[in-house]
């Protein structure tokens, strides 16, 4: 004990550091309160082993206490069913924070207090932040905070987190609770005479087990009485479990309901009593403004057009508006590159160092930085839509269509964004709650044909298919969508099996978002992309640059470089696909930098002047006529189509790898590289072979 206390007190001018968890329903203003309490000093990461966001920050409670604030996932209850709930529950019961700030949405009191009744059983000091009291006021609800506080026997502070109201009071009360200045024993929900009788029997049985499992006795007893799967598995003695189940069955027989329902019923009964006393309805409003808005924008006729408009605007903003930004950053980097080149030359650095530094390190960093603009814009849009409450409406409108693909409605936005660029598409899966659904959406995203692949289609199709370029490009887009759907369905039935989670989604009332909240959210995501995806992207680019440069003295990326030799060596592998020429193979390698780099490489390798022969920048301008003729010589329409299909489907580019690795882990990024390449290999082979066969038959 002594050591632990010493550790806790060690940080910062003798102040004690405590941990305070923020717990509450989704959409109750949890994140806003977290932002208000911690300001910009927050850290965004993932909970260990999963892709769910973990946010922590610091709050200076008073001159004696500093608190680490942990924003737990928004949850409706403390069961062990959803991943979010398990994370929150594990944190509260295993890490045992010093206090809980329980956010309760005043405009939706009944349902929000359900979680509170469960938190009461954890025996962790608690404060209620009765948030959105202004919204409750608009609904003509008057809430007596003192009655709530005296019945629950915990401090209740009315807040409007959006406007920063009540934050000081929360801080003050947190200090009081942490210093042990709140002496009341928290209220406890009772589960009826029969229930209580049997639960107390169960408690008697569990004394030892609760101690061993380091869990509050009452909590464990109630959970096992309900038949909580996780705790049943953790219980060592089978006999104990059987005896508990006997009590359970006895109660169920007496009451005529299962214990889960009985417990929930008494919790809601307790809440109803509390609400009846504490809340006065001053006038009955039949239809709220939110409902009027929904009657238009989620309606039968306008629901889909409105959603399409939102998506279109988001696309416009994130992809089109980011172009000038990207070009600006690009030109800045070109300047920087030239400057560094000159500097390196003047200090007499060897050529190979300059080449690798300039193309690998600086070029790689440049690639990462160019993605910052579209990612920031996507997250600005997404945060706005999420905070205002439209995201769940979008899911409501599109769910039917996505359900057919085995995915929830919220998968639609990440997938559609993939048409612009897969990187923000993959990052946008953050809005999805279910882990498996998210993973599938991440993994099928690279098959969606992004904007960077279009120049490649145009160059090659333009060279080979004289008139039907449009049709060819369209068919490639369609092939990408179909592959994404097929792979998604296959994953759902194989490696990511599991029933799709039940779709029970709240449609929260519309709310005005704050600029601060949106900017913080956007900043957190952009920064973690730069930090976590960035390193992988730069590393891979560096590797490819070195391979293209070695051995010393050859023209970079030429037939004689290591990369060229590898291209040459592996080109026979593409015989079944009909493009067994080394230039194509090398282009596939450089296409990993960014898919549009294929254009630059093909240009360089076919010996036509191109502005960017190193291909890492990509957007090279090609003198049209001769290049087209040369490409057309190496490809038949069939082999060209097979090559294009391969480019569409094979390994995602390094930036996308980085995004997958950030969101799902390195393992899945590697999987994606291998799996997608295999898919590309098989599909182009199929198309080429069947095409050849048909041609022969004709």
């Amino acid at each position: 004990m002594g050591g632990e206390a010493g550790e806790k007190e060690g940080i910062g001018n003798g102040r004690k550091t405590c941990r305070v968890a923020i717990v509450g329903n989704p959409n109750c203003g949890k994140t806003t309160l977290f932002n208000e309490l911690t300001g910009a000093r927050q850290k965004v990461g993932n909970w260990p082993g999963v892709t769910i966001e973990k946010k922590t920050g610091f709050l200076s409670v008073n001159n004696r206490i500093k608190a680490e604030i942990i924003d737990l996932p928004g949850i409706y209850s403390l069961s062990a069913y959803s991943l979010d709930e398990r994370i929150a529950r594990d944190y509260l019961l295993k890490e045992k924070p010093d206090a809980i700030i329980n956010i309760v949405d005043a405009s939706n009191l009944e349902r929000n207090l359900f979680l509170t009744t469960q938190l009461l059983e954890l025996q962790i000091p608690m404060i209620i932040s009765l948030n959105l009291v202004d919204a409750a006021g608009k609904k003509n609800l008057k809430i007596d905070v003192d009655i709530l506080s005296s019945h629950l026997r915990i401090p209740v502070v009315p807040t409007v987190a959006l406007k920063g109201q009540g934050i000081d009071k929360i801080t003050e009360m947190t200090g009081k609770v942490l210093q042990g200045e709140w002496h009341k024993k928290m209220a406890r929900v009772r589960f009826g005479t029969d229930g209580e009788k049997h639960i107390s029997e169960v408690e008697k049985l569990l004394h030892k087990a609760a101690e061993r499992m380091n869990l509050p006795l009452r909590w464990l007893a109630v959970k096992l009485f309900e038949g909580d799967r996780e705790y049943e598995l953790l219980l060592e003695s089978k006999e104990l479990l059987n005896r508990i189940n006997e009590y359970r069955k006895k109660t169920e027989k007496m009451v005529g309901e299962d214990t889960e329902t009985i417990i929930a019923d008494y919790r809601y009964g307790f809440i109803s009593g509390l609400v009846k006393e504490a809340v006065t309805v001053t006038a009955d409003i039949r239809i709220t403004l939110s409902e009027k808005i929904d009657a238009v924008i989620t309606s039968r006729i306008l629901g889909i057009p409105f959603f399409a408009l939102v998506i279109f605007l988001m696309f416009k903003i994130s992809i089109d508006f980011s172009q000038p930004g990207i070009e600006y950053i690009d030109s800045l980097f070109t300047l920087l590159l030239n400057w560094i080149n000159v500097r390196l030359f003047t200090i007499g650095a060897p050529g190979w160092i300059s080449y690798i530094v300039v193309n690998g390190v600086i070029g790689g960093t440049g690639t990462v930085i160019t993605f910052v603009v579209p990612i920031a814009l996507v997250f600005l849009c997404l945060s706005f839509l999420e905070d205002i409450g439209y995201l769940s409406r979008g899911a409501f409108v599109m769910d039917r269509l996505m359900h057919w693909m085995g995915l929830p409605g919220k998968a639609f936005i990440p997938l559609i964004l993939g048409f612009g660029c897969n990187v923000p598409g993959i990052l946008a899966t953050r809005v999805m709650e279910n882990e498996k659904d998210r993973l599938i959406t991440i993994l099928i995203n690279p098959f969606i044909s992004c904007g960077a692949r279009l120049p490649v289609y145009i160059m090659i199709a333009g060279a080979v298919f004289a008139r039907n370029v449009g049709t060819v490009v369209f068919s490639l887009y369609a092939a990408g969508i179909l592959t994404a759907i097929a792979v998604g369905l296959i994953f759902r039935r194989t490696i990511l099996k599991g029933p799709s989670t039940p779709f029970v989604m709240e449609l929260p009332p519309y709310r005005l978002p704050t600029l601060k909240g949106i900017l913080l959210h956007t900043w957190g995501n952009v920064w973690s992309f730069v930090k976590r995806a960035g390193t992988l992207i730069v590393a891979i680019i560096l590797l490819l640059v070195v391979l293209g440069y070695l051995p010393v003295g050859v023209t970079p990326n030429s037939k004689d470089s290591v990369l060229g030799k590898v291209g040459l060596a592996i080109s026979p592998v593409f015989k079944p696909q009909g493009f067994a020429n080394w230039k194509a193979s090398v282009a596939l390698f450089t296409g990993l930098f960014a898919k549009e780099a294929v254009v630059g490489t093909m240009g360089a390798l076919y010996g036509v002047e191109s502005r960017n022969p190193d291909s890492s920048g990509g957007r090279g301008r090609i003198k049209n006529g001769t290049l087209k003729a040369k490409i057309a010589r190496d490809f038949t329409p069939l082999s060209a189509y097979s090559f294009l299909l391969f480019i569409l489907l094979y390994s995602p580019c390094v930036a996308t790898m980085g995004a997958i690795s950030k969101e799902a882990g390195l393992k899945w990024a590697v999987f994606s590289v291998l799996f997608n390449t295999a898919v590309a290999y098989i599909i182009s082979m199929g198309v080429f072979q069947i095409g050849t066969l048909i041609k022969a038959l004709l």
Binding site: Y76, S77, S79, Y81, S82, N108, E110, R111, F114, L115, K139, E257, E260, T261, A264, D265, Y268, R286, I287, E291, K292, D294, A295, V296, T298, S299, R300, I301, L302, G303, I304, S392, F396, V397, M398, D399, R400, L401, H403, T501, P502, F503, V504, M505, E506, L507, P508, P509
Partner: protein
């Protein structure tokens, strides 16, 4: 009084929950949301593509697929009953 599964309410119609047939995850979720015997639930609207459904209960909105709503049995209020008259047809487009 007619007992039907909740997905068969018509838009604007309210029912009173009598039984939840779901198990496991879904049952737990429904209970946490306050869908318990005795609670009144209104089907507000159907999504443009026919699924999911937008319900209102305990003063908040919850959307659910028909597949999930099928597990909840409600008692239909008489059409001339308490809420029956207040059909929100005029808000339906």
């Amino acid at each position: 009084m007619m007992k039907i599964s909740m997905d068969r309410l018509s838009p604007g119609e309210t029912g009173k929950v009598v039984r939840i047939n779901a198990t496991g995850d879904l049952r737990q979720r429904l209970l946490a949301m306050g869908i318990l015997p005795g609670v009144e639930i209104e089907l507000v609207r159907i999504a443009p593509l026919g699924d999911p459904l937008d319900f209102k209960l305990r003063d908040f909105h919850l959307s659910m697929r028909k597949n999930e709503a099928r597990n909840i049995i409600v008692e239909r209020f008489n059409h001339h009953g308490r809420r029956g008259r207040r059909k929100r047809r005029h808000w339906q487009w």
